[in-house]
Symmetry: C2
Subunit: 396 residues, 2 copies
């Protein structure tokens, strides 16, 4: 057997996101790029801001001696200082630079964290619909992903969370602004989750980590704001990246921030640096560390995404689709007419629109559309989706 | 418990390389940088070549649209084509671009490979002395590292390899030019290892992979040359990076190349792309992919390292140390006078010289010195080591 049983099995059920995105590429080659409206992949369509491009250029023009060499596994000291400053502002809590570990994106950060905290058989709780890589990340280290259904409005259900916690629960991952629903969890909602964790800790003596996976933190609309999880629960680890906010997903640059209120923060950070090393990340890419530190106060082009989100929402409603208004990130999670998400996504594909079925996020009956695409793609998708709904209901 | 049992145990026995390198930094701060001769870390002292710096500058000055975005997990098509051309030349065998997977350095590549091929309990054979991260890489995925002692001249011992192979053997890692010995394995030596693998495959029906970990391939001296492992055994996977050859270890850019003679190459490559994704690498850093592709025919500054190696060798011999002449990489593996490597390394530290004890490479009785340091560091180390040996033998 050329590959392990686990990988062989996983390849058979490959990512719906990647599958639909490959399908989009195939169709474009077949039908022409202007006939296909690919809303499958969260690959930001906006370019990195000018300040980032200038920072990169200045670093490339004048690299210091040894600037592409090794540094401590957790990252450059001065980069950790800059990121700590920014994370402190986001979390409204003073986070020391020693609590920051630079990472290969948020995906790398989550792997580093789970490698550090999971013993085989430990459980990782997540709110469904969820980012479909979570179960793989947990499984990499012998962990088990335990999905807990959100309420019908896609907010976390504290009672369901409480019921899912066991003595094997190592952490719960909270992703807000949420992919795929665009939901931003409120302070009250998150407070109830934190209370469930506290009650569990009192009962069992084990305090699960609260993992705030928040690469979309600043991409929020209409007055929504992502509250600080560090304010709500001491054992909180924030995981983030510049993939979405600065449109750098291919560069793999992100970080972990351990709450200063976490009882054993120093030991956890040592573990994170160790896992960064032995998983073969070794360190976050050197040049990108220094580049993002130079623009650490730079914000995402929220207006750009807000405009696209508004365009998509208006059009979808006018066409007769049902979905909760996205409050953040750049996704709409739309009810599949008739209820069969895979069938409807395949029907959309026939009309040139590429979405991802909810089953790919552990939540059938809906499908995801990304609006981090050009406005002309959105307009094309809307027009095709109007036809698609008509022919679907007409039974064509 | 804030971290897993496995990580807690591992932290207790942290890397000798990192420990000694931290010690070097501490001593420099204490005594002054000119009093400490740090030969602990394989962090290339030479700068990246001019062609690389120009490539990076041109990419930073004129990034294409979406150039920092996602691409397929295995890397950009055009980068895979360029790397395939170079790897084909190195291996003297036509490797198709579809057999290349870009990685986050060679350490990332090894993790991706082991995640892909190991079922829990599978074994990874390596030749001692070995790169001390191998056991961690295998352990990340439930694998077991099985060290096999080299012959006294540090060449692989085919009979010992044959004896170590079991039905659970998933692969053997061959690291030549070798870290820490500087040994370059000959074609005849490697042919015997390949024959042992063939015999094992005939007997058990399982064909272990031969993993060629060769980031030092082009850094060879005095007419030594690293033979093509793909020529010797069909199930070969080459793992490499630009960390050492172009002095980019902090940028985390490398690749895997699967032999076209490998029976199930396509399935293995699918698995490698999958593991790249789910381990959170997602893809090798975008900008560095394009930069190394532009300078893919650029070579290492072998002369620079040869000069340093010669300086160190001459001085060590003159001072009375015993070691095999390095044929490649930038390490000398020196017999510890008296036989206790940890004690002698601590004695050297008292004299301001930072080396790494052989026990850190699974091979006590020796210690490693890196010569990828400045010539003044080498001269300072030599002078201090002369005194150190005298005082050691005098029993001071």
């Amino acid at each position: 057997m050329p590959i392990s049983r686990n990988v062989a099995l996983s390849l058979g059920s490959s990512s719906w996101i990647r599958r639909m995105s490959d399908e989009g590429r195939r169709l474009k080659a077949l039908l022409g790029a202007d006939k296909v409206f690919d809303c499958s992949l969260g690959n930001p369509d906006l370019e990195p801001p000018r300040a980032f491009r200038e920072a990169l250029l200045s670093l490339a023009a004048d690299p210091g001696r040894g600037s592409h060499g090794y540094m401590p596994n957790a990252g450059y000291d001065e980069v950790r200082r800059a990121v700590a400053r920014r994370a402190s502002r986001d979390q409204v809590l003073e986070i020391p630079p020693s609590n920051i570990v630079m990472s290969v994106g948020a995906a790398g950060a989550l792997n580093v964290l789970l490698r550090t905290i999971l013993d085989p058989g430990d459980e990782v709780v997540g709110i469904a619909p969820y980012f479909p890589e979570y179960p793989f990340y947990a499984g990499n280290y012998g962990g088990v992903f335990v999905p807990v259904s959100a309420r019908p409005d896609f907010s976390p259900d504290p009672e369901a969370v409480a019921a899912a916690l066991t003595p094997r629960t190592a952490c719960i991952i909270i992703n807000s602004p949420n992919n795929p629903t665009g939901r931003v969890y409120s302070r009250a909602e998150l407070g109830e989750v934190a209370a469930a964790l506290e009650a569990h800790a009192r009962k069992t003596g084990r305090r699960p980590y609260l993992v705030a996976d928040e690469p979309y933190r600043e991409i929020v609309y209409g007055g929504a704001a992502a509250p600080s999880l560090m304010q709500l629960y001491p054992e909180t680890v924030v995981v983030s990246s510049w993939s979405k906010s600065l449109s750098l997903p291919g560069e793999r640059i992100g970080y972990l921030a351990v709450s200063p209120l976490c009882a054993e923060a120093a030991e956890l950070v040592s573990g994170l640096a160790f896992s960064t090393r032995v998983l073969g990340f070794v360190n976050a890419p050197a040049l990108m560390q220094r580049a993002v530190a130079m623009v650490v106060d730079e914000g995402a082009d929220v207006e750009g995404y807000a405009r696209r989100g508004f365009l998509l929402s208006e059009g979808l409603r006018a066409a007769g689709y049902d979905f909760p208004e996205p409050q953040g990130a750049f996704y709409a999670f739309v009810r599949a007419p008739g209820g069969d998400d895979v069938a409807f996504v395949m029907h959309l594909k026939e009309h040139g629109v590429i979405g991802v079925p909810g089953i790919g996020f552990g939540y059938p009956g809906y499908f995801r559309l990304c609006f981090c695409v050009s406005e002309s793609t959105i307009l094309g998708a809307l027009s095709a989706m109007k036809d698609a709904l008509r022919s679907w209901e007409g039974g064509d």
